[in-house]
């Protein structure tokens, strides 16, 4: 195990966040606050409660997920795309470090950042609404697993992308819509039966529902199902990443 190698990548990536503190931390916090003001205050004044939970509190888990997913994907994607783009990847490829260790460094750093960000947003939301977390352990577990899986997805994206457009298109055109349609701001149970069935094909429904359950004990789908889907997603991402390294896909000629 090349411990120093993993640490080098991890600290390098964390330092990069430090340099782009505003973009990495401040802007997500600002946009979350905006969501609170618009959705929580404006719409919340009409909806008031969903399943016995005040609307302002109800959207908190969804908002955290929204930020967690987009930030995990963007951070991890950029982390590996950038050295490919400028060419400094040569050093990583020529180092005595295994594929697993490379992933550990990059994805570990991206996941760490997202988790910290998730907690910051959670703290921010306390300023707007009183929240009681029913299953703190599961809340952290979902936070961790989601950050990890989607950082892996970002890593995959960063290796696959051949240009900055592709790098931005996935978070923008796939993740964000799926989160919105996945019950960020509403319970999927309010949808007509047909659309409710459609949402079951959206993997993010399971994440958001599971995460919301850890807060309020209410869920759109069964919690075991949520955990299973999260783990399945993680496994698929891991399989793709290991295939990348085995074949040298887009990394080596």
């Amino acid at each position: 195990m090349n411990f120093y190698g993993v640490r080098a990548i991890y600290t390098y990536e964390m330092a990069r966040t430090g340099r782009t503190l505003f973009q990495s931390v401040v802007s997500p916090v600002i946009s979350t606050s905006l969501y609170f003001i618009v959705f929580g205050a404006a719409i919340g004044s009409r909806i008031t409660h969903i399943d016995g939970v005040s609307y302002g509190a109800f959207i908190v888990p969804g908002l955290i997920m929204l930020m967690l997913l987009t930030q995990s994907v963007t951070n991890a994607a950029f982390g590996i795309y950038f050295p490919r783009f400028v060419g400094t990847i040569y050093e990583i490829l020529s180092a005595p470090i295994s594929a697993f260790e490379i992933v550990l460094g990059y994805v570990g750093a991206a996941a760490t950042k997202s988790i910290i960000l998730g907690l910051i947003i959670l703290a921010t939301s306390f300023l707007f609404v009183p929240i009681h977390i029913e299953h703190p352990f599961w809340m952290l577990a979902f936070l961790f697993l989601t950050a990890l899986s989607f950082s892996l997805l970002g890593f995959i994206l960063g290796i696959w992308a051949e240009g900055f457009e592709k790098l931005q298109i996935v978070p923008l055109l796939i993740i964000t819509p799926l989160t919105f349609l996945g019950g960020t701001f509403y319970s999927t149970s309010v949808l007509p039966p047909f659309w409710r069935t459609v949402t079951l094909f959206n993997p993010l429904v399971y994440l958001i529902s599971g995460f919301r359950w850890s807060f309020f004990g209410i869920a759109d789908v069964n919690v075991q199902m949520s955990v299973a889907m999260t783990l399945l997603f993680l496994a698929v991402c891991l399989a793709i990443v290991s295939w990348f390294f085995k074949t040298g896909y887009r990394l080596k000629n």
Partner: protein, 312 residues
């Protein structure tokens, strides 16, 4: 003793279908400076890339100090430092930070003294607080050498290390390379400045169109292929070469004031004594004489053009 690097039956065909390396067999000895020469596109960078793990070989085997570069990549790679041809550096880091990164990546525990030493050796210590993007091109090139040395490699690949480095610093750089060799580091370098290879290398390999066309001890190579030229400066101008001197195939130069004789150092008889006798008999007096030897560059150009001619 196992070779520092051993390449056998190595082939590389890129995804485009282009075959960049054709059945390369090559042994690099411990502690030598090996110059890999070849025209643009010959396959030098590809070969280096495979040994360092950046390019995947299509077939064949490479070992580094006995360690297979694929099966035993950790052991193999940790011995190697690479200075790639392309200038690729981070922008926002400082030189010591990027060296710490390189060292860590290669699995070595932190050692600020070593980092300081390397930065000083490459005259970059003054720039230790500068962001990399504020360094000049030559400084970045030296920074890449420093990065390659950060983990104290035993084998160093220098792919065109002197491109864009000024004369003074180039000398310093070669001095450093000599010191590294003295400390036991094996060095493989490519350069288009053949005189540098002539100065530095113990052995020379020439690659062209993906094939190794020659590997030779440099001194031996110069001796074998080296043409020597004898120039006689005449006291008086002559209009034509006397018929008696025809067998020597002399050339008349300097407007009739110089006679030039080409001979081969490989020959048993260089024919100089006979020539001088013949010149005297012909009644030609000379005031001075000098010999020059062809450089590695002449040899290289000769080899590559002959090879290309044969290939067509």
């Amino acid at each position: 003793m196992t070779a520092a690097i051993s390449v056998s039956h190595l082939n590389k065909t890129y995804a485009s279908g282009f075959q960049a390396l054709k059945d390369i067999n090559l042994d690099i000895r411990h502690g030598e400076i090996f110059a890999l020469l070849g025209p643009n596109g010959a396959g030098k960078t590809t070969l280096i890339g495979i040994v360092c793990g950046i390019v995947r070989p299509t077939s064949g085997r490479v070992t580094v100090a006995g360690h297979d570069i694929i099966a035993d990549y950790r052991a193999a790679r940790s011995l190697i430092g690479l200075v790639p041809q392309e200038l690729t550096t981070d922008a926002f880091e400082t030189p010591p930070a990027t060296l710490r990164f390189s060292r860590g990546l290669f699995g070595k525990p932190p050692n600020p003294d070593h980092i300081e030493k390397v930065l000083k050796q490459l005259s970059l210590w003054d720039k230790r607080d500068a962001k990399i993007r504020m360094l000049s091109g030559g400084m970045k090139r030296r920074l890449m050498i420093a990065k390659a040395l950060a983990h104290e490699p035993q084998i160093l690949f220098l792919d065109e290390p002197t491109a864009g480095v000024d004369v003074e610093l180039r000398k310093d750089m070669w001095q450093l390379v000599r010191e590294l060799r003295a400390s036991g580091v094996t060095i493989i370098l490519t350069t288009h400045y053949i005189e540098e290879a002539e100065d530095m290398a113990d052995r020379v390999g020439v690659i062209n169109h993906g094939e190794i066309i020659l590997v030779e001890d440099k001194a031996e190579l110069m001796r074998k292929l080296g043409k020597k030229q004898l120039t006689l400066e005449l006291r008086e101008r002559v209009d034509a070469i006397p018929a008696a001197l025809a067998p020597y195939r002399l050339a008349l130069a300097g407007g009739g004031t110089e006679l030039i004789y080409n001979y081969d150092t490989r020959g048993e008889h260089t024919g100089i004594t006979d020539l001088l006798d013949a010149v005297r008999h012909a009644g030609i007096k000379f005031k001075d004489l000098q010999t020059t030897q062809s450089s590695l560059e002449d040899i290289f150009v000769g080899l590559v053009s002959r090879d290309s001619g044969a290939g067509r």
